[in-house]
């Protein structure tokens, strides 16, 4: 069985602050980077016990080169590096039996969620597809869904698990911590979290027959609310991106792949507006 793993970091057990997940930090980040890798390893080992035998891991956090090779099985493949056209869902077109989202976090604006954001907290204030406020998990799950791959496991804090399993009820959620606001969590230990993730992965694959690929029904409408008006100014330059408010733009297409690429382009050009004028 072929398994895809999109690995983020904010939802790793114990993580409660940016320095722990910021690759430029030389004190806490190296510690949590190892915990992140071990949670990925636990998911892979759990999947293997339920028939998983081929793994593609997509490092999906920050500059996307966090995972430590020496803590992973030698037979996995890994996608490393940023600026991928499908970002956290890169490689989805290879088609998998199932996908895992490890270390995921809640969407921007959600209360009681550690380090909650949606791709870029400096630029994106809210992201909605067909009226539904989206987590990264949902945006990425819909790319995997295009290729028929269901997301069956998500790990992170309880708010993340609750929102993702509400949208993807067939997915197994492993809550490794409970958030106390944005910058605090009551967490399992890394060892206990890995054990829970291992069991969750096994359970998720056992339940695979009732899992479904997640898709958005066309016509698809993407609405982005920006943190600042100047970011919307830049997004509006993109073809077919409509300005629908001082800090809001809209893009419509029947093809979610086109919508997702437009979302990434908008997020990135919005980032360009953050540079000095």
């Amino acid at each position: 069985m072929k398994i895809y793993v999109s690995a983020d970091m904010e939802g790793t057990a114990g993580v409660c602050a940016w320095p722990q997940v910021d690759p430029s930090n030389t004190h806490e980040y190296p510690v949590y980077r190892r915990y992140m890798t071990r949670e990925v390893r636990a998911a892979i080992d759990g999947a293997r016990s339920a028939g998983g035998n081929e793994f593609l891991v997509n490092d999906s956090h920050w500059d996307m080169r966090n995972l430590l090779w020496d803590e992973l099985p030698e037979d996995v493949r890994m996608i490393s590096g940023a600026r991928k056209p499908l970002s956290m869902a890169q490689g989805a077109e290879q088609r998998f039996d199932a996908a895992f989202f490890t270390g995921y976090h809640a969407r921007i604006g959600e209360a009681g969620a550690v380090l909650a954001h949606t791709y870029s907290d400096a630029t994106l204030y809210d992201v909605r597809v067909n009226g539904t406020p989206c987590t990264e998990a949902l945006l990425n799950a819909a790319i995997l869904g295009l290729y028929g791959t269901p997301v069956v496991l998500v790990t992170g804090d309880r708010a993340t698990i609750d929102s993702v399993t509400a949208a993807l009820p067939w997915a197994v959620g492993v809550a490794v911590k409970d958030a106390i606001g944005y910058f605090a969590a009551n967490s399992l230990t890394p060892v206990a979290a890995c054990a829970a993730i291992h069991d969750g992965a096994r359970e998720a694959l056992a339940a695979l027959p009732r899992a479904k690929p997640f898709t958005f029904a066309p016509p698809i409408e993407l609405v982005i609310e920006t943190a600042k008006t100047e970011q919307a100014d830049f997004m509006e330059l993109l073809p077919r991106v409509e300005r629908i408010g001082g800090r809001a733009v809209r893009f419509r297409d029947d093809d979610y792949l086109t919508v997702f690429r437009a979302f990434l382009a908008a997020m990135r050009i919005g980032g360009a507006a953050n540079l000095p004028a």
Partner: protein, 274 residues
Amino acid sequence: MKLYCSTDMEGVAGVSGWQQVDARTPHPEYERYRRYYTQEVAAAIEGARRAGAGDVLVNDSHGPMRNLLFNELPADIRVIFGNRKPYSMVQDADATCDGAFFIGYHGAIGDQNAVLCHTYTPSVIYELRLNGIVCSEATINAALLGAQGVPLLMVTGDRTTVEGVQAQMPWVHGVIVKESIGSLCTDSLSPVAAQRAIADGAAYAVANRSAAKLFQIPAPVEMRVTLAKTEQADYVAMIPDFERSGPREVRFVHDDIHTVFKAFVATFRLGALA
């Protein structure tokens, strides 16, 4: 007669190096050339009014686009300041304008003997073509003016710039303020002589405006942008409806030049972040 002036700085008399026009890390020379720049704009307005121009809208179109010195310009004109305009160097050039000047313009990136030549963002844009025509800033800006019904009447800058514009728009009156020797050296008129030539050229251009035509790029407009680096093309190719036509090239086709123009602005904005 309402006159529109898009004003750049590299084509001002005497300018031969980036420090003279760099508003972001101002060198003492920038303050000096900023004054010459303003004086060339004032000269163009003075000459145009001699031939009957009334309202004047000036669009500061250089760098951060807040260079012109108000106290050296006539009190009754309007000025557009600030970067990040969706139509950038031709913002607000609408049908109320009867004619346009491009003052202090420079050659397209890649032009030989064109001082400080570039096309919008030299770190990103290696070449810009519309329907196969290699574009300078003057070319794409004039195409937007043409779509708005505004004819380009005059261009000032170095010889390569002026002759390049006239090759595409033969009706445009040119004022050559300097000869370029390579891309970082010029043989120039003095500021005073350049301003006199610009005032006279402006009067001539306005007086003869009935001979001017609209520069139009027929639809569908095919834009091809060659990027300086492959990673910029990686980013830019994500823009809706863009096609990756080469490792360092993207292609975009649309019937409306306004959409193409904004897509070009998006290209250099997004490319700059890569």
